[in-house]
């Protein structure tokens, strides 16, 4: 109760700490959620209809991978294979849009893109995702100076696919000078996956075959995104920590007399420290709830921002929320540790010296 009253007594400084924690926590929430969202979307794209992924050997990113699609005919003859499809994932300026995702897919995978208008693309044609179609009003568009006719529009469950363009694999192969970026194989029985990985691996020395699950776990881009997210979150954590420490130091300095009174009354150093920790914890928890609500609002808005074309999507899991809560509590306790320590050391003699005659 003392802690609550003390917070109410110093509304300006309490608000400063509250704001500093809110901004730091929100930054952690957003960076974690957006990076999780990007990873989630790409993982979903790879996992859809695919248990096994074939990429070029020794390539760090599917953007640079080139896999000969001719091996698909051999793969399709294997008894445990249900189906396979090839895909080219690229990026290119599209009309006035500086960069957009270009997806070249085998015709048997077109069904993944739900047509809302028109028909699936033939040679020299493309279909547009819902988001990008809002920015292109003509029937023709240029990709890498080559004109394509728009044959239809599509929707997708994966946010960033809606900001892209889908064409057939052959056209994409010409555009990006490759046969395919990767081939995805769907198996009839899940327990046949590992055996099939071994079998497909023997088809060529230039390919790398993995289950989509292990590919996602080992994919360098995801690791880079996760590490970048961790670094930025850590910086936000440190900023919050420094904010709490500096403002709490100001608060402690302005309340020295109060701590001196407590010490003179026989209150222990632990009592003073506990009260200051409690004050910071109250503010931190309120800031956490506020930041969580704001972040959820922002994350819900992101997919509807036309400029982002669905590329930035957030996914806020319970685990992330819990991890951020623990981080917030740590931030509060660490940030107030030094000021609380200094406050607890306040010498009550200062009360006598102030009134010394």
């Amino acid at each position: 109760m003392i802690a609550l009253k003390a917070l109410k007594k110093n509304p300006f400084k309490s608000t400063l700490i509250f704001s500093s924690i809110t901004i730091a926590v929100m930054a952690i929430f957003l960076i974690s959620s957006v990076s999780q969202g990007i990873i989630g979307m790409y993982s979903k794209m790879i996992k859809t209809d695919g248990d096994i992924i074939i990429t070029q050997k020794g390539i760090s990113d599917t953007f640079f991978s080139n896999v000969d699609v001719s091996i698909m005919s051999k793969i399709n003859t294997m008894p445990d294979v249900r189906s396979s499809y090839a895909m080219i994932v690229g990026a290119s300026p599209v009309e006035h849009i500086p960069i957009a995702g270009i997806y070249g897919v085998s015709s048997n995978h077109f069904k993944h893109y739900k047509l809302t208008r028109g028909r699936y693309p033939k040679s020299g044609e493309v279909i547009l995702g819902k988001n990008i179609s809002n920015q292109i009003k003509s029937q023709m568009l240029k990709i890498g100076n080559k004109p394509y006719r728009i044959s239809g529009l599509y929707e997708s469950d994966i946010g960033f696919e809606e900001g892209g363009v889908v064409m057939n694999l052959k056209d994409a192969g010409v555009l990006f000078s490759r046969s395919s970026s990767y081939i995805l194989v769907s198996v009839k029985l899940p327990n046949a996956t590992d055996t099939l990985v071994q079998k497909i691996s023997t088809l060529s020395d230039e390919i790398e075959v993995k289950t989509t699950k292990s590919f996602i776990q080992e994919y360098n881009q995801f690791k880079i995104i996760e590490k970048s997210s961790l670094v930025i979150s850590s910086l936000a954590f440190l900023m919050g920590l420094m904010g709490i420490t500096s403002i709490m130091s100001m608060i402690v300095n302005s309340r020295k007399e109060e701590f001196g009174i407590m010490r003179a009354l026989g209150k222990t150093r632990l009592f003073i420290m506990k009260n200051l920790f409690f004050e910071t914890l109250i503010m931190s928890f309120s800031a956490y709830v506020f930041a969580l609500i704001l972040s959820l609002g922002i994350l819900a808005t992101l997919p509807h921002i036309e400029m982002l074309q669905g590329y930035v999507n957030g996914s806020l899991s319970f685990t992330t929320a819990l991890y951020v809560l623990v981080s917030t509590i740590c931030m509060a306790l660490l940030g107030s540790l030094m000021p609380a320590w200094i406050a607890s050391k306040t010498d009550p003699i200062l009360l006598i010296n102030q009134g010394c005659s």
Binding site: L265, P348, I349, S357
Partner: protein
């Protein structure tokens, strides 16, 4: 109750107390007088365990201060303090200020104490809502709540008019009747009217 032997204290290189020795018996009202800079406040700070002396020995309630394990608990249970300025915590009500000082077993007695001191109507008021004299009475209530063995008061009437000063002294005298030893450091010569013994300080000596 209090035994001081060869107490000296330095602030840096400057010596402010010189081999001070005296004894205060239980139930005495001590008037510690002296000019500004004579060492009254320093001696009071040492006696009330707020300041550690540079040398010498101090016995409080038959315990050597150096041997007391938890000085904070000892201070809370045995010593009451009244400062020149009331030093009430301004975001806590009168009741809460006293409750902050009270050990758990004494908390039920707060209302009764406020009644005894004639300030029960102020219980829910905040320090900035009451007069200077009332604040000092609250400060006195806070010092008395744990029924301490000793009350130290440093210029308790320094910021009060004569009417309020009289009230404060009468309350201290009342505490004395209840067996509390009272030590008051003051410039106010009226203190002498209530004191059972006067210790005059001059240049750090008694």
């Amino acid at each position: 109750m209090i035994k001081v032997s060869n107490l000296s204290h330095f602030y840096g290189a400057e010596q402010v107390l010189f081999d001070v020795s005296f004894e205060i018996k239980e139930g005495e009202f001590i008037f510690l007088s002296g000019d500004s800079g004579s060492g009254k406040s320093t001696l009071l700070s040492i006696l009330s365990t707020l300041l550690k002396p540079s040398s010498g020995e101090l016995l409080l309630a038959n315990s050597r201060v150096e041997d007391i394990k938890n000085i904070d608990v000892f201070r809370q249970e045995n010593i009451g303090f009244v400062f020149q300025f009331h030093y009430l915590i301004n975001y806590l009500s009168v009741y809460e200020n006293i409750a902050l000082a009270a050990i758990d077993s004494k908390k039920p007695k707060i209302e009764k104490l406020l009644q005894d001191l004639g300030i029960s109507s102020l219980s829910s008021r905040y320090p900035n809502e009451i007069s200077g004299g009332q604040r000092q009475r609250v400060a006195l209530a806070r010092a008395l709540i744990n029924e301490p063995k000793i009350i130290f008061a440093d210029e308790p009437t320094g910021s009060l008019d004569s009417a309020n000063s009289k009230i404060v002294y009468e309350l201290l005298a009342n505490a004395l009747k209840n067996g509390t030893t009272v030590v008051v450091a003051s410039h106010d010569m009226h203190t002498q009217n209530y004191a059972t013994k006067t210790l005059k300080m001059l240049d750090g000596r008694i």
